[in-house]
């Protein structure tokens, strides 16, 4: 009898503990490591703006570092289709979802390219012209360049600082696929692959998000994509 009673008590404790350990609801904020909060929703993108004088001064953009370059110093690849005075800056505009979703993939449509090689995905960002052909961004469960499984896009905030896993992030350009995640699928960080890092203001929901991702394989092997998103975060639900 005492043994049966002890078993009942243990089972009851287990049931109560599992009921108490679930999501506290409210969308957008899931507890991960102690003190860190996962931000689930849309990181809405402010469009990049620049003038004929020089770089992007506000909003989101992309740059590409040459194989012998370094972040901050360059050299960066100049793009003849950039509207900026400094052609190494490619301002980006928000896509149909408003920006980058976490907790959900925003995969490439099928087909991922039109017949001229332009990328067709337009949910994260609008396709951006790069050397006469648009590149399009997406987050895919299976990376189209490497066929590797990726992690769901995830950004966490801790004391106003952002980090996470954007291994699913990719760019499609001219019938070529490039993983542009940080870390890479599987967790590696080759070469100049760093981030994502950033800032988040809980009161205004304003954020900045930065990462760089070295291309591994293909025609642009060892070039590095530098990504800067900024805007406001909108929690899901």
């Amino acid at each position: 009898m005492p043994r049966r009673l002890a078993l009942c008590v243990l089972l009851s404790v287990a049931l109560v503990a599992s009921a108490c350990g679930g999501d506290d609801g409210g969308g957008g904020g899931d507890e991960t490591a102690a003190g860190a909060e996962e931000l689930v929703g849309v990181f809405k993108i402010d469009p990049g703006t620049c003038d004929t004088a020089g770089p992007v001064t506000k909003g989101s953009y992309f740059r590409m570092i040459t194989p012998d370059g370094k972040p901050g110093d360059g050299p960066y690849v100049p793009n003849g289709d950039s509207p900026c005075g400094d052609k190494t800056w490619a301002p980006m505009k928000p896509g149909s979802d408003g920006g980058l979703r976490t907790g959900e993939y925003q995969p490439y449509p099928d087909p991922a390219f039109d017949d001229k090689g332009n990328g067709t995905a337009a949910s994260v960002t609008q396709p951006t012209v790069w050397f006469a052909v648009t590149f399009a961004n997406a987050t895919n469960e299976k990376d189209p360049q490497t066929d590797a499984a990726t992690s769901m896009p995830k950004i966490v905030v801790e004391e106003g600082k952002l980090s996470g896993d954007l291994s699913a992030y990719a760019a499609a350009w001219n019938k070529q696929h490039f993983n542009q995640g940080a870390p890479k699928p599987g967790g590696d960080r080759p070469g100049l692959t760093v981030g994502p890092t950033g800032t988040y203001d809980e009161a205004t929901k304003a954020y900045t998000l930065d990462w760089s991702s070295q291309i591994v394989g293909g025609p642009f092997n060892n070039f590095t994509g530098v990504w800067h998103l900024e805007g406001t975060f909108e929690a899901e639900g």
């Binding site: 004929t52 004088a53 040459t66 194989p67 690849v77 100049p78 793009n79 003849g80 289709d81 005075g85 052609k87 001229k116 090689g117 050397f131 006469a132 052909v133 001219n174 019938k175 070529q176 394989g217 293909g218 025609p219 642009f220 092997n221 060892n222 070039f223």
Partner: protein
């Protein structure tokens, strides 16, 4: 007296018998030795693919097969002619830009972006022709494409051979057979029955090994082994990280100029720009195709650097026929020797 004669006769018979036994033993040893050498050659053939890392280690045979498959779409007359055409299109645009277009529109390029565009286009023109560097982009890329064009037949010859990943087994399978046959022959000789059928099979295996390079036209006919060596040698300066890095660096120079021409400078030439400057119009019209095709090709080159290095690390292709012929001669000769000695 009679007893003594009988003893002497018995001794003589014993001596003669001993001599015969000794003679037969010597004959068996003489027959076994070449069979043992054949056995060792068989084992050597089995080991060779592992020693050369065709199988295991660097897996060079598999990498060679992967490389041949990766290059297949580009090693065609159609594709190479297309690449040569692209370079011709860019060259024609450069000449027209330098000799006609820039002199005509430069006075109108007054804003900072327009002047930056002129600078970018002039930079492309100079690098294209090699004014600033030891070798111009056009000369370098045309040379590379022409070297590839010169090896189309060599590639086709090597591609006509059995798949690379099968090559280790062309050593291993005969090696196993020769070793087993030699062992069977040794057993026969030890029992006093002579080399017999296994000995004859050794001769047949040897002749087969000698014939194989000629059957596959590695030697004679298309001389595929020698053409393969030529191709690997000609690709040495092309398939390097440095060369790929150079070509990667050419792309932004050409692409930037095309974009600046299209976006900033051609509008200065007015509504008749397309007809006035047809080479530049053609360049912009096909640029996305050019960049896609060259990107594809450059990607294949970059992604097969390791595979090319693996194939290059093998002994020269021109020696491969002899890796069959020499063991074949030896095995056939050893088989014949064993047969004669029994």
């Amino acid at each position: 007296m009679a007893t003594r004669d009988a003893d002497l006769a018995a001794e003589q018979r014993l001596a003669e018998s001993a001599a015969r036994v000794k003679q037969r033993t010597a004959a068996r040893s003489a027959a076994i030795t070449p069979l043992r050498v054949a056995l060792v050659i068989g084992i050597g053939l089995i080991a060779a693919p592992f020693i050369f890392q065709m199988l295991g280690g660097d897996n060079r045979a598999l990498k060679g097969a992967d490389m041949m498959d990766a290059f297949k779409p580009y090693m065609t007359e159609t594709r190479i002619t297309q690449f040569q055409g692209f370079l011709g299109t860019i060259d024609a645009a450069e000449q027209e830009t330098r000799t006609k277009f820039l002199p005509a529109i430069e006075p109108a390029a007054t804003s900072v972006p327009q002047q930056q565009a002129v600078a970018a286009v002039e930079d492309w023109s100079a690098k294209w022709r090699g004014e600033t560097d030891a070798i111009g982009i056009n000369e370098d890329m045309s040379g590379m494409v022409n070297d590839i064009a010169a090896n189309l037949d060599n590639y086709a010859a090597v591609n006509a051979l059995p798949k690379f990943f099968l090559f280790p087994f062309f050593f291993i399978m005969p090696g196993i057979m020769i070793a087993l046959i030699a062992r069977a022959a040794i057993k026969r000789v030890r029992t006093g029955r002579g080399a017999g059928t296994p000995g004859k099979l050794l001769v047949v295996m040897g002749v087969g090994l000698i014939a194989a390079p000629f059957i596959f036209q590695m030697m004679g006919g298309e001389n595929r082994a020698f053409e393969g060596k030529s191709m690997i040698d000609d690709f040495k300066p092309i398939m390097t990280q440095e060369n790929i890095g150079n070509i990667q660096g050419y792309f932004p120079v050409i692409g930037l100029a095309e974009g600046q021409l299209r976006n900033d400078l051609v509008p200065l030439a007015g509504p008749s720009a397309t007809t006035d400057y047809p080479a530049i119009a053609e360049f912009s019209g096909v640029w996305n195709t050019i960049s896609a095709e060259f990107a594809d090709f450059l990607g294949a080159m970059n992604d097969n650097l390791g595979e090319y290095s693996a194939v290059k690390a093998l002994p020269p292709f021109s020696l491969f026929p002899f890796f069959f012929i020499l063991p074949g001669l030896m095995v056939a000769g050893l088989g014949l020797a064993a047969l004669r000695r029994t």
